[in-house]
Subunit: 485 residues, 2 copies
């Protein structure tokens, strides 16, 4: 049962986050499961995750990706092929026994899908007529042996989503990266109201085996960036490693170009918690709220009046296009208000005996503001208020995000902002590829522990943008720098 | 690409099934994944599975079960607690290593949820006010070290669904078993058109640790029963083992009663394949068909006519309430008809130049029958024909099922029918509980290898029903006997 949140978000974000997530808070996850790094997804948290999945599934299917499902296990031989590329092996869980037998070959639990999917693509792909080949898998879990775990930020088991795409040309691969960016704009920014920057990562921070890595990064209130999706331009590297080829019109065998796209379901939830929440708990955009509207009947002694109030509530629910819940539990209304506020329900409706008399109900927005509306217009008012809550959330989030971004031109100012937890710093930097630039990135990290070059806007071209704040040389880009999870 | 099915269902069911499932058949699963006992779910198979999940999720949520998600891993201590009850340990996969480390304690991959969920229920449950407690998890996989694997019938990794319920009284637990039966009636029989019998298993075949086990069994064409769901009446056995208690109004701690319900997603798909399919492949009820209607435009040379045909197809799709797919691939229509027939699409629409002239289209049902309908009434006709296909499927399935059930009164006739692959045999048997009855059940198995007592209708009471076909003693029940997967 909820006890309320005992710290302010601004004063101790980490503790606030832990409390909001917990069974005593918004009841998203139970962190006490007795296998380290694994959580139980509680109904409220699970339903939010399910909404995130549904929006992403709808988008990628509209873009022509077909759903499928691969096994959990990857055999060692295939995983080792990727090791040359991506070096997941220190993080891999291994299943080695079954019953009382030792398995002939130990089996990896998938850390990500490439090494299980691409050998099968090599079987499937025969001819150019099958291209583009676009599949995805969703609602499965991935496994990594992480040292530090936090619900929805990092875990040994976490929710996964991945598209894996094969194209004839590199141009098509690039176009699919634009489409992934568009999906993030539609889902993350427009629907979940999470502001983010879409970056091309510096070459030294790309996925190993990828030509380039593109990400959607948001900023958490503690000043650390959180990666919400990645798209890898794999070139023909994996096709060559896994011998994926297609016959062209002349019967010649060619390596196709590949991309893969992975929005982080957990990270998106963490961003919703962190960016939108306030001292009273979660605030959910209407797309994600398991209950978009909660009606609390205010019941006193008179049975007949009570019955009428519940009837009104049920009629509203029945006629609504939204996910409406009526809370008839035997608790006092104040307790209920607090609980649904903590859980982030966008709109609360109160109906008491006096409202019944005046043929009105009270609408209270999670983002503030409470007013009576006439019963005969309640559905329009619900629609309007839910829209307002989304607008409030969006406006706050955009303000928050722009306050978390600072443009500077000296290393000292980079340091000040990062040490202060101010978020992103924009500063001129020598380059985002090449050994020389990577060396200066390492120097930056030595001088400001934790400072990372997030990347550049993929549409920006190298230009003379002043002096690099680290090397003092001519800078090629204004890059984003931040600390990171 | 589809090659068609080369055997007749009646002549070699096993080979027919393998061909239908395969990438060359209806493209449900790829069995060539290089970890033994694990399959890749192909898009067509995955989407069918997703429909099965959606119907079950809707039903159990309507019954008040809340979704949640537990980790894959179960620690050894908790799994061992169940071993006393259910003896899964010979079938359990163990994860013992991560990176280059040996784990301190090896972790089981869940064979089923009881031993991971009930220790957490012990944390959650405090007071009678929280009862009933009804949760479920869905779309996850379970793992068992099976020797023989067949897609959708048995695998080392398979699709799982489970509700776990806690009640104050045994009466409520029993009522929930009735509700599980009702769900199976609604979903399996009324929606997916799969006939089944709902049995109480003999006591010696109940889940260990359960007071009673109830199942929905169907009959496959090779004369083997397939269990499509199980509901266990756990009494207070697991509550006692995992120390789950609640405080009543007086503050006294009591053990609650528990049930769990597990429809087998895979087994349901196998039943749809086996019961409904014919020599040409799969036949899908409209609830499960990823495409309920496939439109094949018959395109010849004239570009302008072709464009008009495609426009008509798109208009039909746009105005339809069903899942309509337009197949514009550059293949001949006959090839397309065969492929969609193999994949079990309930309704095919053909539109050619002549149809355009007569302002009609051709509707062809997967269960037979093809006729032109006027374009201005096509939506009503689609609705009507889809309904007819479901009726055809249902009628065939009911006839099939009743032909697969024989009532006999001698062991010799039991033997004849079972050896002949005739399906269920109803015969008088001494009892379905007690050591004496179990002994005679063993005698039955010795005399007719593979013969199993499936169970009795849970609403039937023991009565004098003639002489037991095995012992010759007074029989208490007419039981169902069959071979089994």
């Amino acid at each position: 049962m909820s006890k309320g949140i005992t710290v302010k978000k601004d004063e101790d974000f980490s503790e606030w986050y832990t409390q909001v997530v917990s069974p005593e808070g918004a009841q998203l996850a139970d962190n006490r499961y007795d296998v380290k790094g694994c959580i139980v997804h509680l109904p409220w948290g699970f339903k939010i995750a399910r909404q995130v999945y549904r929006y992403l599934e709808r988008e990628v299917e509209q873009e022509g990706h077909e759903p499928m499902m691969f096994p959990l296990f990857i055999n060692k031989k295939n995983l080792d092929k990727e090791e040359e590329h991506s070096g997941f092996s220190p993080e891999v869980f291994w299943t080695t026994e079954a019953g009382s037998n030792k398995l002939d070959e130990k089996l990896a639990l998938r850390p990500t899908g490439e090494t299980q999917i691409y050998p099968v693509y090599a079987n499937w792909l025969r001819s150019h007529g099958q291209l583009p080949m676009k599949y995805y898998q969703s609602r499965h879990m991935a496994y990594r042996y992480e040292t530090h775990a936090r619900p929805f930020l990092r875990g040994r088991e976490f929710m996964f989503f991945e598209t894996h795409n094969v194209f004839r040309t590199h141009e098509e691969a690039v176009a699919s990266i634009d489409s992934d960016k568009r999906i993030m704009e539609d889902v993350l920014r427009d629907t979940f109201k999470i502001p983010f920057k879409f970056f091309r990562r510096p070459s030294w921070d790309s996925f190993l085996g990828a030509e380039d890595t593109y990400v959607a990064d948001t900023m958490m209130p503690d000043g650390k960036r959180s990666q919400l999706s990645s798209t890898h331009d794999l070139g023909t590297n994996f096709a060559e490693a896994f011998d994926i080829t297609y016959a062209d019109e002349e019967g010649e065998h060619n390596y196709p170009y590949q991309t893969c796209f992975g929005p982080g379901i957990w990270r998106i939830i963490a961003a919703v918690i962190g960016v939108h929440g306030d001292d009273n708990g979660l605030i959910l955009p209407r797309a994600l709220a398991p209950h978009q509207v909660v009606i609390t009947p205010i019941l006193f002694g008179d049975e007949e009046v009570n019955k009428k109030i519940v009837d009104v509530a049920e009629k509203i629910k029945e006629e609504s296009e939204y996910r409406v819940h009526i809370d008839t539990r035997d608790k006092n209304p104040g307790w209920k208000f607090n609980q649904w506020e903590m859980k982030g329900v966008p709109l609360r409706i109160e109906i008491g005996p006096r409202d019944l008399e005046s043929e009105s109900v009270i609408l209270a927005k999670r983002t503030g503001g409470k007013q009576p509306v006439p019963l005969n217009n309640v559905n329009n008012e619900i629609r309007k208020k839910l829209h307002e809550v989304d607008q409030d959330i969006e406006k706050r989030a955009e303000t928050y995000f722009s306050n978390k971004t600072h443009t500077v031109d000296s290393l000292e100012d980079v340091r000040k902002h990062l040490e202060n937890g101010d978020g992103f710093v924009i500063a001129p930097f020598i380059d985002v590829e090449g050994d020389e630039a990577e060396k200066w990135s390492n120097v930056l990290q030595e001088k400001i522990p934790g400072a990372q070059i997030c990347g550049v806007d993929p549409s920006s071209e190298a230009d003379d943008v002043g002096k690099c704040v680290v090397s003092g040389e001519k800078a090629s880009y204004n890059v984003y720098i931040s600390k990171s999870y």
